[in-house]
């Protein structure tokens, strides 16, 4: 048995069991189902049972009759789950599990149903939401009926599609994750030795410097210094293995008397743990070797940077350290000779510049040039002699400028005083006069 259910929005307005007769629907009181709404014509539609099927007939209503969204003219079959729109209302043919016949409804008993703006109250049944409606319909209907309801069907298809997509995504992700590491592993086989320091990229240099300093301090048996250097590593990389190893060595060295010094002898590259150009020494532990490799590489790079900055003394010290750690490393002897040549050239240039300035009477400039030459090579006798000579002259002239500036200042000729105080500051060595000249400069400068 079927029943006709009338919805307004999500609310069930009324329902009526279908028998074999005609059910008239409209605003007029003479209809079986009265829908009191202006969107409904007085005699809007009829539902008829013909040959075991139900039909809905448009009674030439003003707003028309729509079956599944298509306006009909005349008669159309009424199918289960196919919505029929009638003004602001919607009709639906549903199966009725009860055995009630047409007219058994309490409303039908009266021969007609009147629905107005609050028809739910009149029907005596609570409103149901669309979800509730659907759930109830699904529960009540067999599978074949379910597929005949488009809304439920499409919703189910949508949900199923979504579930399939999600499952596919997870499946693909899983496959990709498994495949990528395998490819990386195939393209990049693991190195034979691992000597890199595990640290954030931006701290690597700093960590290496601390490690190097700690290692040098350890070698010099300055354990406190070494520990303080290691302490500086900890905030940068708390899990640094080399730092831990070195700390362990320091602890052991402190606990035990130092072994007699053994001069390490270079050996041929052996085993998979050697780095090209830095062979493992006989009896050298992995930790010592790693530390030495780190020292050699760090000193080498630092030395090159020093050369670029014309810091030849520092560069040569670094290269010497490299040579001590690994004689012949990366043609270190040639590099040292080349650096010494650059140092000599730079010193000669600075001295020449100083002499030129001296001839022009620019003693301060000359002094600076000779000082620069001495910085480039503290052992340069030529630079030292020139600096001493010009320093004497500069001091004398600086003192004269200082005295003259004082008189000009007392005579209120401050421009000239400032000029001379500048000369005095330039020429005088550090001392009370130079300090006073600087103070006057600050006072008198506009």
């Amino acid at each position: 048995m079927s029943k006709l259910v009338i919805f307004r929005g999500d609310s069930v307005e009324t329902e009526m069991h279908l028998g074999g007769g005609i059910i008239r629907i409209g605003r007029d009181e003479r209809n079986n189902i009265v829908l009191n709404d202006k969107s409904v014509s007085r005699f809007h539609a009829e539902v008829r049972a013909e040959g075991g099927a139900y039909y809905v007939v448009d009674m030439k209503s003003r707003n028309g009759l729509y079956v599944n969204g298509h306006q009909i003219k005349g008669k159309a079959a009424l199918s289960l789950g196919v919505p029929v729109t009638l003004g602001a209302y919607e009709l639906a043919l549903e199966d009725d599990l009860s055995t009630s016949e047409f007219g058994e409804s309490p409303h039908a008993a009266a021969g007609r149903t009147v629905v107005s703006t609050s028809a739910a109250d009149r029907s005596g049944r609570p409103n149901r939401s669309a979800t509730q409606r659907m759930a109830a319909a699904q529960a009540a209907q067999p599978p074949s009926t379910f597929f005949k309801k488009p809304a439920l069907f499409y919703s189910a298809v949508g949900i199923a599609t979504l579930v399939v997509c999600v499952l596919t995504y997870f499946l693909v992700s899983y496959i990709v994750r498994r495949r990528v590491p395998e490819q990386i592993a195939v393209n990049n086989p693991p190195p034979l030795t691992t000597t890199t320091v595990e640290a954030p990229p931006d701290h690597t240099a700093e960590i290496n410097q601390h490690l190097l300093a700690a290692r040098e301090a350890f070698d010099a048996k300055q354990y406190d210094v070494a520990l303080s250097e290691l302490a500086a590593v900890e905030p940068l990389d708390a899990t640094n293995e080399q730092a831990a190893q070195l700390k362990q060595q320091i602890d052991q060295a402190r606990a035990a008397p130092p072994p007699p010094p053994v001069k390490p002898t270079p050996t041929a590259p052996t085993g998979p743990t050697g780095v090209p150009g830095i062979p493992v020494r006989t009896g050298e532990s992995q930790a010592d070797y790693d530390a030495r490799v780190l020292r050699v590489k760090t000193n080498y790079q630092d030395g090159l940077r020093n050369v670029d900055r014309q810091e030849f003394v520092a560069a040569l010290a670094k290269f010497d350290a490299v040579k001590r750690d690994q004689p012949g490393y990366s043609e270190i002897d040639a590099l040292i000779a080349e650096t010494q040549g650059k140092q000599r050239k730079a010193v000669e240039d600075a001295i020449a510049q100083g002499q030129k300035s001296e001839q022009e009477g620019k003693l301060a400039d000359a002094k600076r040039s000779y000082q620069h030459a001495q910085q480039l090579d503290p052992n340069s006798a030529a630079a030292r002699d020139r600096l001493n000579a010009v320093a004497d002259r500069a001091t004398k002239e600086g003192m004269k400028a200082f005295t003259d500036a004082g008189v000009y200042r007392k005579r209120n000729m401050n421009d000239k005083a400032v000029e001379l105080y500048k000369v005095a500051v330039d020429l005088l060595p550090n001392g009370p006069e130079r300090t006073e000249a600087q103070q006057w400069l600050e006072k008198l400068r506009p």
């Binding site: 005295t403 003259d404 004082g406 008189v407 000009y408 200042r409 007392k410 005579r411 209120n412 000729m413």
Partner: protein, 199 residues
């Protein structure tokens, strides 16, 4: 005897000449005490600044003081204007140290040269006045309104006062008045320290 007397006379003359030459060629910068004894023929009296800042002697006869203006604090002049001494005063921010007198003299010389580009024959000496005040004496020749004139510029710092005494005489009358002017400049005397000028 006659020959011996002749030789002695000649030797005395040569010795006197050598002494004169040596006396005339004192090195620059050497201290000089000039005109201390003054001119025996001239009588002097003391000019005292009305504010009590300084005093100096000037000839009793034919000299008088003139009205001042600007930075000049006193003007003494011969009545015929053949010779004049102008005393100028400026202020220092601090008193000059004795060691700074030569530097101050150099600055004075430089300043004069800059102010009077046509002047020439500059000569600088560090001198002590009769009152024991050390200053710089710069002599030079310049062209004035009435022709070339000789200037003696005596500069001396007293406390925070810097006095400049310019004695000017026509080049033609230099021989006649130089000694008097020198005496006047060297007689300059000023109290030092806080009791000095309030200008």
């Amino acid at each position: 005897m006659t020959l011996t007397a002749h030789v002695v006379r000649r030797s005395v003359v040569v010795l006197a000449a050598v002494c004169c030459i040596l006396a005339a060629e004192r090195p620059i910068g050497a201290q000089k005490v000039l005109g201390i004894f003054g001119s025996g023929k001239v009588q002097y009296k003391t000019f005292k600044d009305a504010a009590g800042r300084f005093e100096l002697e000037y000839p009793t006869k034919d000299w008088s003081s003139l009205p001042t203006g600007g930075s000049a604090v006193a003007i003494l002049s011969r009545n015929d204007r053949a010779a004049t001494v102008v005393i100028d005063l400026s202020k220092l921010t601090e008193p000059l140290a004795p060691a700074e007198v030569p530097t101050n003299a150099e600055i004075e010389l430089q300043t004069l040269k800059e102010q009077q580009p046509t002047a020439k024959d500059f000569a600088l000496d560090i001198v002590d006045s009769k009152a024991g005040v050390r200053g710089s004496m710069i002599k030079y020749l310049r062209v004035g309104a009435n022709g070339p004139e000789r200037v003696m510029h005596f500069s001396v710092g007293v406390g925070r006062d810097l006095y400049r005494l310019d004695a000017v005489v026509a080049e033609a009358s230099k021989a006649k008045y130089e000694e008097i002017l020198t005496y006047m400049l060297m007689s300059f005397k000023a109290p030092a320290g806080p009791t000095g000028s309030k200008n």
